[in-house]
Structures are given as C-alpha cells and as structure tokens.
Symmetry: C2
C-alpha cells in the first residue's frame, strides 16, 4: 500500500490557515497541492455559502480523488489535524470524513491513519461488504472472508439462501401498502406470531397461542422486557456458571443481582441454586445445549427446576438459542413443553437459525402473564420493523425456514465432525476436545495451567477468533478452554490449516 | 353478509366428540356436514400422525373453504367452542385459526364471531392491507381507507414515494452480503449515522459527529436509552403539561417521577419548572412545535432552560418529532443548536418524516456522554435491523429524503389550510380553531364546558378519530379541546364532510 505523509497538499502555499482553497463547484483540480498548476483560481472555504462547510470539504476530497490528485492508497490528514489546519469545528470535518468513508472514498485504518481507498471502484454507499479483518492476515482458503475464522455466535453465512431471501424481501417491500406504514402491532406482526406458534409446536413441542408470543429485537431485548415486566432492581436471579456473558451484562445494568450456579454434565446444578439462593425470583437456563458447555439439562434437573419455580412462584427463563442444532439424535423438546404451571418464559431467536444482523427474537409468556407483557410492550413500544417481520413470515409460510434448519442441521453436523477431526489431529495432544451432542462451537481444553485468555489474545492478533472459557465464568475455579465456532469452517483442510496456526501460537 | 349459525357442520352425526372427521390428505370434501354425501370415508383427527393436530385442523378448514363446503361469509365456531367440541388444547385451535386468519381464509369479527372471509381471493399471508375501520363506516371519499379520518401521529400515507422506496428496498435486500449478516453495529449503521449527521447540520443547525448519533427503534426506545444511561429510579423530570402521553408512560414504568410544568404561548414555563423542582435531573421539551399545543419555545425560554440545566448539571431532552413541519416561515433551528455546554440530548425520529411503521429514530448525545451511551447500547444491543437502516441510508444519500420533506412541508401547509378552512366553516361557531405555525394536527376548542373525552368517544364509535386534550393533560384545569390530524385529509370537500359528521355528534 502506498502511503503519503506529505500533508502539505492540504495547505495553501504561504497560507497556513485556509488550506483547502478553491472556488465554485468545479474546484476538484484546484487543490493547493505542491504540484498544482500555478495561477489556478483559489479561494477560501466559504462559511456563508449555501453549500454547508462539511459538504464543501467533502466535495473537494471527492473531486480530488476523482481527478486523480489524490490516489488510491494515499494517506489523508486525520480529522483532528485537518480541524486544526482549517480552524473549523471538529464535527464539520467528522461529517465530511464519514460521508467519504460511507461512500467508499476513504478508509480509516486505526493507528495507521486514514487513506484513500485502495483499488477504488465506483459504488453506492449501501450494503457493501465490509471486511472485518485484514485480508492479508486471513488464510486465502477461508470463506466467507468478511468474518474471522472461528467467530462465535454466527451461523454458516455462506449457506444462507440469500437469493430466496432477496426475492421475498423485494416482494414484501413492493407490497407495502399505506395500512402497513402506520404503527405496527407492538407485540409483533400477527402473521409472524402465528408462524412462530406453529413452528414451536412442531419443532420444540411447545403449545402456545400467538397471543402469548412477543416479537423482540434480540435476546437482550427479550431479557430487558422480562425484567421490566416481572423483576425489579435488587432481585436475585440464578445464572449458569459458566454462562453467556451478555445475560449477566443486561441484568447488571438493570441492577438485578446474578447468583452464579455451577454447571456439570447434567447442566445447571439446581440443588446448588436452591442452596445458594432459595428465594431467587428467576433462573436463566440454556437447557438444550448449555451455553457454552453444550451439555443438556437432564430430565430430573428439569423437573427439579420447575418444581422449585412453582413452589417459590419464581420464573424460569429458557434461552433456547440453538435448540435445533443437535447432531447425535433428534432435538430435545424445550423445557417449556414440560411447563404445566406457567412458570417458564421461553426466549427464542432468529439470530442463529437465520442470521444475527436480522435483530429479531421472540418470547413466549405464560398465558396469565400476557396482559402484563402487553402493558409493558405498549409502554416501550417493542417490536421490530414490519418489513423484516414480513420477510421472515413469508420465509416461514413458504417452507424455507423449516428446510433451511434441516439443511443446516446436516451441514453443521458435517462441519463439526470435520473441524473436530482436523483440530484433533493437529492439536489433540495439547488440547483435547470435549464431545458434545450439539451446539455451534467446539470446546478445546487447555492443559498444564495455560491461560485461555492469553491464547485468545495471541489468536486475535493473528487474525483468528476464539473465546476464552474464563471470560464466560463468574467463579474463579473454571478450567481453561478455547471456544471455537465451527459453522463457517468449510472443509477439513481449512480446519487443519487453522489448527496449525493455533499450534504455532501455543 | 351471510352468516351460518349451524355449527353441527363440525360434529360427526351421532358422534359428539371427534367432530372433524376425515382421513388422509384429501379430506376436504369429507367434512361431517349435514349435507355431506352418505358413506364418505371419515376418521377422527389423529394425534399420533406426522402432521401435527393444528395442521390437520387448518388443512380441513382450508380444504372445506377451497371446495366450497364453507362459503365466504359463513360463520365458523369460536376457538373456545371448537376446543370443547374436539377435546383438544386451546393452543392447538388458536394456532390453526391464526394461520387461517393470517392467510386470509377467515376473519375474526370480535363479538360477531369468526367468519370465512367475504369476497375471498387467493393471496399470500404478507403485507396485505388490513382495514383498521369498517369500510361501511368511513366516508367513501376518504383516502387512504386503511386508517381512520384524523388519526393522530401519521404523515400523509398517500403521498409517500412508495415506488422509490420499493426500488431501493429491493436493491438493498439483493445487495445483502455475508458481512452484512453478522451482528450489526449496535449504535446504528455507520453510513446512516453519517447521513443523519449531515442532515441535522443542514436542516436543524446541529453540528455533531456521527459518533454522537445512536440509532434507536423509536422515540420510546430513545427515552428508555437516555434513562438507562443518565437517570435512575426516583429521579424527577420536568414534563410539559399538556404533553405527549407516552413520555409520561415510559418514565412511569422506569419509576422516574414526572413533574408537570405548564405550557403557555411561549412554550414550557421554565420559571415554573424551576419553582416546582429546581433540582430535577432532566426536562423533556418539544421546542419546535409543542406537543400538542404547537406553540414554539421562545428564545428567552430556550436560554433560561439551557442556563438552568448548565447550573444544575441537569439534562434537556429535546423531542424534535416534527421540527420540519412549520408553514408560516422557515423551520426554527433546533434547541440543540444553541447548546454550548453539552446539556441537550436531541431525540429525532423517522416516524413523522417517513412513516411510523418503520420503527427508526435516533438520538444525538453530547460528546462527553458518547462513551456512556456506547456502554449502555452494547449492554442492551440497540439498533434496528440492517435492512431498514440500509434503505433509509440510500433514501437519504440519493436525495429522496430532502425532497420528500420539502414536498410534505408544502402539502401539509395546503392540507392544513384546507382542513382548517373547511372545519371553520362547518364547526367554527361551536369550536374555534387555534392558529399555529406548524405541526401535523389542528386544535379545536370546545366551548361551554363540553367534554372532549365524551366527544372523542362518540367520534370513535362513528369511525372518526380524535384525541382529547384532557388525555394529554396531567393537571386538571386544562381546557377541553379536540386534536385532529390533518395530514391525511386530501381535500376541502372531504374535510367539510367530516366536519359535518362531527357537528352531528356534538
């Protein structure tokens, strides 16, 4: 990459203040560059012009790039430096730069400064892929190249039926009528709630009516909604330890006290929760595949948990984020399907079965609580945009959803086996792999007191993603292990390459 | 409309329990109708079949409708009645019914029961217009027919550039790449934040960097986000009285105490706020057009408010929901544009300038608070779906947004004048109309101690929408008045028709 440290291009020769100097609209070639042609018509930026200052700056950069005065790879001054240079408000420069960045003209490179986009091509500002990692660091064989290898929480992005999605999306957006533009039903699009109810009955063994389903904009929103409706600051809640960190995070901000409850091979140790906080107001569990240990909550524990909740009038929050993805047998029915007493709040999400960027999740509430959740949803006006909900509804109604889940269950089983076998062959001696019935990631145990956090830090530097089990742990005595998502690892050969790179970092 | 009260169609002759009786997949014509052909092959619903029960029920209704056994307008049993009839779980019936309703086969009619959709046409489940009012009640000349006349909070739905929107939407949905499917930036799509920053500078006089902008899923979400970041339960907040009821509602659920502050011709009476609660943590104001009285906050009051906030380190929350819609002169700059000390949080929304169903709003926070809001947004994972944000970004980047606002300002000025003139001519004697510089609704004063709430109730029964000023009021001494949105009133003749209908209800 060519860099250009000569910022004098931004200063008018002999004039340190008004650096970007040209007049009218056709000023692209008139930059006060050292090599600008002598005698060119130059004048200061005009704060009184009809064109706002940010736009004048934006125009000059864009024109300079278009005319070749600034070349791909050239470094441009930092916003701070240009702010000082021009004596303008920082916000003005920031707006200009961010528009330029949004439209692809320039690229911020962190410590390395901001450069004119290398390999610049004309393109619109919208929905262009943004590489999350430097392509030079990622192995060329890794797909898709916009995410890091082993990045957690992602489904197989390459296997999503984007064409079907785009077709349905285009149809839905064209079908928008005035009636669809008014305030949406705050509990979610009625058609979507019906589709979800039908899906839950068939796939997760949950019998509920659409009125019990509340569409949310993600799992954290679901937890906030439950807290708003049923909990209050100061309440205590059992959380699995280790467990999904965002759950702690949300409760922490709501001033709800987390009680860590250990997890063993049968899932959350319910008796331990009862010993530690018998009067807790709620327990959050991941019964299908514990997050992150992937064990299933045993049937006796399920009964014990429901029994405790019923006796104490406490709530069980079932986080069923990937219940479908079990590879050794049929998916287990949801804990909710055993809930005769109406103590279980079921939190489902489209993040894992569709994609996380969709920001769409849902909550099933026991029938007697429906009114309370309607009240809270009205107050905070929940629900996502109609368009996304309409697309998901069509995707479900036409059978794509069920087909996609079936295909992914098969694909993930294959990718899991291939990735596990490859990593085992390369890393098995140093890092034995847990065997689990389901989930979307592998757990590699670190031996000999090695720090998972340090390994993860080295991996991130090398362009590899991993998470440290220690970071998912509240108590201090948890074993050291690496969590690696396998859903985007396309072949055994890729996994072996990646495994060798991890081996080099040990 | 034909109704059919003979529910015996659902019972097998001589068998009161398994009413819906047929076998296999081709059972549509085999309903146990009184007029079913004798000897037809019938068998009970099969709980053990691969096809779930709700689907079996759904299939039978659908087939019965398709084959003409059930005809458009026929009444079908209530879900409760059918639950008892079949001895199944209520949820099973609810799922079947809601799928049938979602796909347009049946229509719930409240007390009148559920009927097979009259004038049934094949159609998908998605994005079909849902009439919000009985067409028989609405005057035939009123457009669009999916909302009520005078419905508050709505822009002119008929004037929205739906074709442009659909074209951009289809392009954005087709352009989705794997990189766009991962977790979105929780503060909002960077390109959208840049567009908003540029828009605010040009149109509202606000200089801010994109990093100060947080995209939310609506005004209530914005208020909740501010409360989470800067307020705590027990804090006191000044609210305009009268004022937008949802603001009270959200704060109430967050246990933040509302201090009503009166509004006069110059907007919120700041001195009164200082007298009532000098140490309040925040004040919510609608400076451009007070909601609902449409007066503007005077410049002395703006300075007084900022001065109070600076001295007390309190926050001013500027709700600029319709700042663009001023008809007597140029829109006033936002209060935020005067904010030298970083005390103003600016709440903008796309609900009024695009449409409410979009569920997209934004917040500008003072620079020193950016980090705190980033932390809170991370915890609760704010932001809307990428797709909607991408469409809005394109809509703004290509100039449609600015053009649309210009067109609407002109159109609303015309519709406001026409509606006001028409209502004045019909109702002026009984209900004088306030003169206001902007906004999206008219205020009709009720004379002689008439109750605005009672009039609104009568209007709703007659299929007309209105809101009572009393319902926007916290203190008890507010005058009685009717709030009528004019943005969807397409002509003076329509407004006169509607005015005469109101006159008949006085």
């Amino acid at each position: 990459m060519k860099t250009n440290n000569d910022w004098s291009m931004l200063r008018e020769p002999g004039n340190g203040h008004h650096g970007m100097v040209c007049s009218g609209t056709n000023c692209g070639a008139d930059w006060s560059m050292p090599d600008a042609k002598p005698g060119s018509s130059i004048s200061p930026l005009d704060p009184a012009a009809a064109t706002p200052l940010y736009r004048q700056i934006y125009d000059r950069f864009r024109d300079a790039i278009a005319s070749g005065v600034l070349k791909p790879g050239d470094r441009i001054p930092s916003a701070r430096a240009l702010t000082q240079e021009l004596g303008l408000a920082r916000g003005t420069i920031d707006v200009a730069y961010s528009l330029l960045a949004a439209e692809g003209y320039i690229q911020p490179r962190g410590q390395a400064g901001t450069i004119v986009t290398p390999d610049l091509k004309p393109r619109g500002p919208v929905a262009s892929p943004r590489p999350r990692t430097d392509p030079a660091l990622a192995p060329p064989s890794f797909r898709p190249d916009s995410i890091l290898p082993f990045q957690m929480g992602l489904p197989a992005l390459d296997a999503f039926p984007r064409k079907v999605w785009a077709r349905l999306g285009a149809r839905c957006v064209r079908a928008m009528q005035p009636g669809d533009m008014v305030h949406p039903a705050v509990y979610g699009l009625p058609e979507l709630r019906s589709q979800i109810a039908a899906y839950l009955q068939v796939s997760r063994g949950i019998i509920c009516s659409p009125a019990q389903i509340f569409v949310t904009s993600g799992y954290r929103h679901t937890i906030a909604l439950i807290s708003q409706a049923l909990l209050k600051a100061g309440d205590r809640v059992w959380l699995e330890d280790p467990g999904y960190p965002p759950t702690r995070d949300v409760f922490g901000h709501l001033r709800i006290a987390a009680v860590p409850v250990p997890v063993d091979q049968d899932g959350m140790v319910v008796s331990d929760g009862i010993r530690r906080a018998p009067k807790a107001r709620a327990a959050v569990v991941t019964p299908a595949h514990q997050s992150p240990l992937c064990v299933s909550l045993s049937l006796p524990r399920r009964w014990a948990l429901l029994d405790w909740a019923t006796r104490n009038e406490s709530w069980v929050i079932e986080d069923d984020y990937d219940g479908e993805y079990r590879y050794v047998s049929r998916p287990l029915p949801a804990l909710k399907s055993l809930d005769q007493e109406g103590r279980v709040l079921y939190a489902g999400t489209f993040s894992k079965v569709l994609f996380p960027g969709i920001r769409l999740a849902y909550l099933v509430v026991p029938e007697p609580q429906v009114e309370r959740f309607e009240e809270i949803s009205q107050a905070f006006a929940g629900g996502g945009p109609q368009l996304t909900q309409a697309i998901v509804t069509a995707f479900m109604a036409e059978g794509h959803f069920a087909r996609h889940i079936q295909r992914m269950r098969k694909l993930y089983g294959e990718r899991r086996d291939a990735t596990a076998a490859a990593l085992e062959s390369v890393l098995g001696g140093a890092m034995p792999i847990d065997s689990q019935p389901g989930g979307m990631h592998l757990i590699l145990r670190l031996r000999g007191g090695r720090s998972d956090r340090e390994l993860v830090a080295r991996m991130m530097k090398a362009g590899l993603y991993g998470e440290a089990l220690t970071d998912w742990t509240m108590a201090r005595d948890q074993a050291s292990a690496l969590l690696l998502n396998f859903t985007n690892i396309g072949s055994r050969r890729i996994a072996e390459d990646l495994g060798r790179r991890i081996l080099g970092l040990l």
